[in-house]
């Protein structure tokens, strides 16, 4: 543990650490109190700025926004996993004809900002007179972006399985296809799971970019609620509520990832493979 970084403090050290701790706590609480005080002063906690949330119509708006967020995220997650699987297989192939284009596609989409990909999905079909649902524009962007990252996670996961595993499989006469399907994938899957879930958290958060093309997801709903002048433009209350929903959703997914990781490391069979680290190619923010 990181406790190797410092000695167990003696009496003077303990006093000093306690002092710093108290000062830090006071500073943090002071800052927080200042924020709350200013919000109070500017009427952010006034009833009229919050009363919208009491009403069924507004709650329905929020639930609809949540549904649109989850729908886009769900479809995009499935498509991104498929995309990732196909292109990871392409990159792992022995044939240059498959490997080179797969590498190009994955590297390309990892270099383009998600916003630009969403614009591609939205503007380009429209320009050629083909009407596309905003949800699909968002999903196309999310799929290409996260799919190419997932392709890298898959590849790293397969490569992380100890060499002896595939060597042994080849030695008993399995073909490449069989080695991949029967030996590598089942083991790699466990190693990849935490990284996959983390990427899905990223995907869920990124649906918020739908606001740029006014796809009616959570943040767009938050903007509408916050933009009502009759209620004193309650942007602050509205965004606080939206943030709480996102933090809860992503937090639940993160807890799932953490739980999966714990479960996985308890299994004796997974010795041959280390979890895919969230570094290098597999880290997106």
């Amino acid at each position: 543990m990181s406790s190797a970084l410092y000695d167990l403090p003696g009496p003077r050290g303990r006093r000093r650490n306690a002092l710093i701790g108290v000062l830090a706590t006071v500073a943090i609480l002071g800052l927080l109190a200042f924020v709350v005080y200013r919000f109070w002063e500017t009427g952010q906690f006034e009833a009229r700025r919050w009363e919208q949330f009491k009403f069924k119509a507004v709650q329905r708006e929020l639930l609809e926004g949540l549904w649109f967020t989850l729908k886009a995220a769900g479809i995009a997650a499935v498509l991104a996993l498929l995309f990732g699987a196909v292109f990871a297989a392409g990159r792992l192939s022995d044939r240059t004809l498959l490997r080179a284009p797969s590498t190009t596609v994955v590297e390309l989409f990892r270099a383009i900002p998600l916003l630009i990909l969403i614009f591609f999905g939205y503007y380009v079909p429209l320009q050629y007179g083909w009407s596309i649902d905003k949800m699909w524009a968002l999903i196309i962007g999310l799929t290409l972006y996260n799919g190419s990252v997932l392709a890298e996670i898959f590849r790293a996961g397969i490569n992380a399985v100890a060499k002896g595993q595939s060597e042994a499989a080849y030695a008993i006469g399995m073909r490449k296809n069989q080695v991949l399907r029967l030996i590598l994938l089942p083991q790699a899957f466990r190693a990849m799971l935490p990284a996959i879930v983390s990427q899905l958290v990223v995907l869920l958060k990124d649906t918020a970019l739908g606001f740029i093309i006014t796809y009616p997801e959570l943040l767009t709903v938050g903007k509408t609620i916050g933009g009502r002048l009759a209620f004193g433009l309650p942007y602050v209350p509205s965004y606080l509520v939206i943030a709480a929903i996102y933090i809860t959703l992503c937090g639940m997914l993160s807890v799932l990832a953490w739980w999966l990781q714990r479960r996985m490391t308890r299994l004796p069979k997974s010795k041959a493979v280390e979890p895919v680290p969230l570094t290098d190619a597999t880290r997106q923010i």
């Binding site: 009427g43 006034e46 009833a47 009229r48 009363e51 919208q52 009491k54 009403f55 069924k56 119509a57 507004v58 709650q59 329905r60 708006e61 929020l62 639930l63 949540l66 503007y123 079909p125 429209l126 320009q127 007179g129 083909w130 009407s131 596309i132 606001f211 740029i212 093309i213 006014t214 903007k223 509408t224 609620i225 916050g226 933009g227 009502r228 002048l229 009759a230 209620f231 004193g232 433009l233 942007y235 709480a244 929903i245 809860t248 937090g251 639940m252 807890v255 953490w258 739980w259």
Partner: protein, 311 residues
């Protein structure tokens, strides 16, 4: 396992807050202002009370747009949702305003029950693409007729004439017209005509031009003193000023002529002529006046129908 329990509790609390204890009906602001002045205007949508009945005998020969509407049995209309008295959606989800009722009137004349209108909220910057791509059948939302836009879309109308003006804080005295904007931060919607005019005529320095997707965001920045003026058509600005009369005012020196048209797919002349005919009929039989007085007229000044410009 403590983390897990926390997550479950959080999820339950979240589900509870969203589903439980909701009051039915349309929320109406209680008017708990900063202790000064009148209560803010109600957020409940009010209409002019005009009823539009679908004209089932409607027929437009040689119009692909009309054929599409006819076979779909519904019409897809592009609108705004955050402009009080023009195109607004209240907290109950009801839409109202001058543009909305104009759209409903046209739908009825196209043989579609106004209840069957599918509204799409299209931001200013995406209007041409949405019409060109066939995402919507027509657009009614403070859409100025310009020659440049005519290259991409067709216009029926104008059905209203507005002018670009400035919305400022109530205590503002330095800004009295378009020539007093130098060195001031000016906000408007991305891709809108007003912001292009500010840029083209260099009314303020490029670094002082602020753009957001919606006017509400601009108004919020104005109240927070991050910008000094919000500019767009007076018809829109008056709606905001009427909702917050203690904090906002319209300068009242319009510096342009904005002819609002109905955005239509390009080169469907039969459809355009038909829509123009229907607008003309509304101008003549008093329907236009009734709609205007019941919506936009409440926050602005009296007006009479404009002259159509057929092309």
């Amino acid at each position: 396992m403590r983390m897990k329990r926390v997550a479950v509790v959080a999820a339950a609390a979240f589900a509870f807050t969203l589903t439980a204890c909701g009051e039915e009906g349309t929320p109406t602001p209680s008017g708990a202002g900063n202790g000064s002045g009148a209560a803010p205007a109600s957020d409940t949508c009010s209409t002019s009370g005009t009823t539009f009945t679908a004209d089932t005998a409607a027929a437009v020969t040689g119009s692909p747009t009309f054929d599409k509407i006819k076979s779909a049995g519904k019409v897809v209309v592009g609108v705004k949702f955050d402009q009080p008295n023009l195109g607004y959606k209240d907290t109950a989800g009801t839409r109202c305003g001058f543009d909305i009722e104009t759209a409903q009137y046209l739908a009825s004349k196209l043989g579609v029950d106004p209840a069957k209108i599918e509204y799409k909220e299209i931001p200013s910057a995406n209007r041409e693409t949405a019409i060109k791509g066939g995402e919507i059948d027509y657009y009614v939302g403070t859409y100025s007729i310009t020659d440049k836009r005519k290259a991409d879309v067709s216009f029926a109308g104008p059905y209203f004439v507005a002018g670009q003006d400035l919305l400022v804080r109530k205590d503002e005295s330095a800004i009295t017209g378009k020539d007093t904007l130098k060195g001031k931060k000016v906000c408007s919607a991305t891709g809108s005509t007003p912001i292009q005019r500010v840029r083209d005529e260099a009314l303020t320095e490029p670094e002082n031009i602020v753009e957001f997707k919606t006017y509400s965001e601009c108004v919020s920045q104005l109240l927070d003193k991050k910008v000094d003026a919000v500019t767009t058509d007076d018809a829109i600005l008056k709606g905001y000023a009427a909702q917050s009369p203690d904090d906002l005012k319209v300068v009242g020196q319009p510096f342009s002529t904005e002819k609002y048209g109905i955005g239509l797919p390009k080169d469907d002349k039969a459809f355009r002529d038909y829509v123009n005919d229907q607008l003309e009929a509304a101008f003549k039989d008093g329907t236009w006046q009734k709609i205007y007085d019941g919506t936009l007229g409440k926050s602005g000044s009296p007006a009479s129908p404009p002259t159509l410009e057929r092309y």
